[in-house]
């Protein structure tokens, strides 16, 4: 299964590890039960081929059925205990000193905000979460439009984002790396293309990243870049997108202040390369049919300037 960056069977966080342990317990129990029942069935059928095998007496049969039922009851109650105990353990992850993130689901992308008591230190990005390794993370989940579900199988199970409610998921990454998550609740046309990455790094690398994200977009340093910014500010982009440090302050699309640092476009649909960016801006409906991003009808020149400018948003 590839590099298993989106797999419940490759846990890299304590929560997913606990679930994975429970899974293997249930898997092996189930396997034993399955094999035992099929063996019993086979023996039952096999005995019929022997001419001397008669019907077992009702009493004998009743004894066996009762025994099998009793074993089932004990096994099931054991599994119930295991399940609830796992739930209790997962709830014990301390949220003190946790990193607070707010994720809002939109059709079909993720807005990510790093909370801070000082509003000016808050950071908004999209479709990509950077998190420190070994520190609990408390993510509050909200939905802008319809129900979505936040799911990074390597780290935890899924929790829904529901309009009018706020949910919480607490997790912790124990191994640095890039993990992939995906919306798990059907949310309309492009439910298939609503992925995101979680980049788990050591805490100093994470702090560096966070500090960098807090800075506004750098001013354009060449005439081409200036005209690129002009396309943003005067064209249709600013109606939906925000680029801090410019006049673009739209709220319906991803924050683009540091878009060039991100690895994918359109919520994990295509890799973030200049070519992909160009064709995405040119005809988003071709790459992600139904996306709320309209075709903008920019001229070839404007498009080039715009892409060049966006490339500088590091």
């Amino acid at each position: 299964m590839g590099q298993a960056i989106q797999s419940a069977l490759n846990p890299t966080g304590i929560q997913a590890a606990r679930i994975s342990d429970l899974y293997w317990l249930m898997f092996w129990t189930s396997t034993v039960v399955y094999v035992a029942v099929l063996i019993a069935l086979t023996v039952a059928i096999w005995r019929g081929r022997r001419s001397d095998a008669g019907e077992p007496s009702r009493a004998t049969a009743a004894k066996w059925v009762t025994a099998a039922t009793a074993i089932s009851i004990v096994t099931l109650i054991g599994l119930l205990f295991a399940s609830v105990a796992t739930g209790r353990a997962m709830g014990s992850l301390s949220t003190e000193n946790a990193l607070g993130i707010e994720v809002v689901g939109y059709q079909w992308w993720w807005s990510v905000k790093y909370k801070n008591p000082t509003p000016s230190l808050e950071v908004t990005t999209a479709n990509e979460l950077h998190v420190p390794v070994g520190r609990p993370i408390a993510i509050s989940l909200k939905a802008f439009d319809v129900i979505h579900s936040f799911w990074v199988p390597n780290l935890h199970g899924k929790v829904d984002l529901i309009p009018g409610r706020e949910n919480l998921i607490t997790l912790q990454v124990d191994r640095a790396g890039v993990y992939r998550g995906q919306c798990a609740e059907y949310c309309g046309l492009q439910h298939a293309h609503m992925a995101f990455n979680i980049i788990a790094e050591e805490s100093d690398a994470f702090e560096r990243w966070l500090t960098a994200q807090r800075t506004p977009a750098p001013p354009p340093s060449s005439p081409e870049l200036t005209s690129g910014l002009a396309v943003v500010e005067r064209g249709p982009c600013q109606m939906c997108h925000t680029i801090r440090g410019t006049t673009a302050g739209g709220r319906f699309g991803p924050d683009l202040t540091h878009v060039a640092t991100r690895s994918t476009l359109a919520s994990g649909t295509v890799p973030n390369t200049p070519d992909a960016l160009t064709s995405w801006i040119k005809d988003p409906q071709h790459i992600k049919p139904g996306t709320k991003m309209p075709s903008t009808g920019l001229s070839e020149q404007e498009l080039q300037a715009l892409v060049a400018y966006l490339q500088t948003l590091k």
């Binding site: 109650i77 119930l80 205990f81 609830v84 739930g87 209790r88 709830g91």
Partner: protein, 130 residues
Amino acid sequence: MHSSTGRPVSHERWRLAALWSGLLAGPSVALMLQEFNYVMSYVACETRQTWFLHVATVVAVAIVGAVAVFAWRASDGHPLEDEHPTHPLEDETRRQRTRWMSGFGVALSLLSILVILSMEVPVIVLRTCQ
């Protein structure tokens, strides 16, 4: 309406009630307890207490246990003689059916008690607000 055996009809009514409640009461109580627990889990979180959930379990087990006993005891005794005797085999049919309903009620009640007790597991293991 009196039966020809002289057994009062009210006794027969009780027996019927016992048999039918055996068929219906156990699982119904289990389901009601579940809804009660579900609603009260919010209260449990607010007040950080779970004693009422335990009490509900005990009450539910007591009710279903009583029903089981009730159904069990309804199996003995002889059925009424038929008011419109048309079928030669009816007496035996009734006796078998009464025993069957009684056994059915007892078994279903026991299973219901198991379900009720299983719902106690989360109350014991989990903390009130998770």
